[in-house]
């Protein structure tokens, strides 16, 4: 998914005219990227989650705030936005942003979330219409719900060129044993799991298995749904943060996550423009080595 220079400049001009960007640069800023193992395509290492933050209903003011967050995300070089039919109005709010900012270089990642295999295609089509994209880049089976029915359907869609990548998701360490089984049985491009300095269960088996099978890894809830960053408010950054160029706790946590070699993209959710910029910037510069990663985890554990 690339955009021409002319399209990017036009997008920037459109945004400025819409009063959305202020001094924001046109899309196309370079962000640190990772390689998707199954194709070799590169994707910026920090994406944008929409759980809770983008579920703002029909509120025009809040929808425009979300669009401004998306504009800042794209301007910083971000591309992957992740949502789900489970997230209330989040898909429609992403669609609103995409319409407002069009054209943008979005990497659209969504999910199938229905217990009925029969309803899967209808739900995917409804989600696509809400996003207002011609097709999804990635479709995942949300929390393995009815994966036996949905995964063959998604793989057929991929073969027909209706979606580019297929994956599965879980969160908070749920159903990891089954998750591993599905990773071994199906030709997946991506898995999505919870991973951060305090939730490290996936390091034991899931991340090594993903690396072994050439599956990309998307990390959700990097800040434990905001709990971790709220706990760290007012807590001074230790001197080691300077060694990796982390100006905030959020950046230190993201660098911890992205330093794992199996991780492809982390998708923190936020409602704030300054945070989205900080998050994308965290993928650049020095990453912590193994020793420093352990120090980060120990520091957070001991707080």
């Amino acid at each position: 998914m690339t955009l021409s220079r002319r399209a990017l400049l036009a997008a920037g001009a459109g945004l400025a005219a819409a009063g959305l960007t202020g001094a924001m640069p046109a899309y196309g800023a370079t962000a640190a990227t990772r390689t998707i193992p199954s194709t070799g395509e590169t994707v910026p290492a920090v994406g944008l989650g929409t759980w809770i933050t983008f579920n703002v209903g029909d509120d025009a003011v809040l929808r425009d705030e979300c669009a401004a967050v998306m504009a800042a995300f794209f301007a910083a070089g971000g591309r992957m936005i992740d949502s789900s039919p489970m997230y209330g109005s989040a898909q429609a709010v992403v669609g609103h942003g995409l319409q407002k900012l069009e054209p943008v270089p979005v990497f659209s990642a969504d999910k199938v979330w229905t217990s009925s295999g029969e309803d899967g295609p209808t739900q995917v089509e409804r989600s696509r219409a809400l996003w207002t994209v011609p097709r999804f880049d990635l479709l995942q089976v949300h929390n393995l719900l009815a994966y036996e029915e949905h995964l063959p359907m998604l793989l057929d869609m991929k073969a027909a060129g209706q979606v580019r990548y297929v994956g599965i998701t879980t969160s908070e360490g749920r159903r990891h044993q089954l998750f591993e089984e599905v990773m071994r049985r199906f030709p997946l491009d991506f898995i999505q799991v919870t991973y951060n300095p305090l939730d490290r269960e996936v390091e034991d088996r899931i991340l090594p298995l993903a690396a072994d099978r050439g599956i990309g890894v998307i990390v959700n809830r990097p800040f434990q749904q905001g709990v971790l960053t709220r706990r760290l408010e007012g807590e001074p950054l230790p001197p080691w943060a300077g060694e990796i160029g982390a100006a905030t706790w959020a950046q230190a946590i993201l660098k911890f996550i992205l330093a794992h070699p199996a991780v492809t993209v982390a998708i923190p959710a936020t409602t704030r423009i300054d945070h989205v910029r900080d998050n994308v910037a965290a993928a650049s510069g020095t990453m912590p080595d193994g020793t420093l990663r352990e120090r980060i985890a120990a520091h957070l554990r001991d707080l």
Partner: protein, 217 residues
């Protein structure tokens, strides 16, 4: 370990406190200046709960039925946009409208005269005290929760009025408001709102007063 044990209440809340309270702000903006009439209705409802005049009881139940109808047709669709579970509340709200309409029809047979302070006090709190919780929790009055436009004060006022009037049909009309108070408290708790206990406290006060009235008969 059972998978359900890994979930907490917060995992079922799909939206933030800010977005939830913005619902009331948007709802209030859409219906201003209906608030003046609704506050007047709240005052009248308190007086009826205190004095229990026959025609006033009928009007009170009709007015509450209209408030629930207004909630079902305007607030719930707004709420359903951020909480898909709200769609399942729509039939319950219309059941409540039917129960209150039935209570209005049967109202003329109810007892008259003073029946205690608790019911009128709960109604007065719903009408005039509950909107002010917006200020206590750091929100502006633009996001105040008003009878007929927001579910919590409507549910609390219905509980108070039914307590004051008494009778079996009034007890039936308390079921949906009681369920709403519990659901609202759980939602507010999950959102981390410190005032989550208010709907539960109103429910407990009403239940205790109702039980005492039954035992006294």
């Amino acid at each position: 370990m059972a998978e359900w044990s890994t979930y907490s209440l917060e995992d079922f809340i799909l939206f933030s406190a800010r977005v939830y309270f913005r619902l009331f702000e948007v709802q209030n903006a859409a219906f201003w200046p209906l608030h003046i009439a609704l506050l007047a209705f709240g005052g009248a409802l308190t007086w009826v709960a205190l004095r229990r005049p026959g025609i006033g009881i009928v009007a009170g139940f009709v007015g509450l039925a209209l408030c629930w109808a207004l909630l079902g047709s305007t607030f719930l669709p707004r709420y359903a946009a951020i909480n898909w579970a709200a769609e399942y509340l729509v039939p319950l709200v219309w059941l409540e409208v039917a129960a209150l309409a039935a209570a209005a029809i049967l109202a003329m047979s109810f007892n008259r005269g003073f029946a205690g302070w608790t019911g009128p006090a709960v109604v007065a709190y719903a009408a005039f005290g509950h909107p002010l919780t917006a200020l206590v929790s750091g929100r502006s009055l633009q996001a105040a929760e008003v009878i007929g436009l927001a579910p919590d004060p409507t549910a609390i006022a219905t509980l108070g009025f039914c307590l004051a009037i008494g009778g079996r049909i009034a007890a039936v009309a308390c079921v949906v408001p009681a369920l709403w108070c519990l659901a609202s408290a759980a939602t507010l708790y999950g959102l981390g709102v410190s005032a989550w206990w208010i709907p539960v406290a109103c429910l407990v006060v009403t239940a205790v007063a109702s039980t005492k009235a039954m035992l006294a008969r």
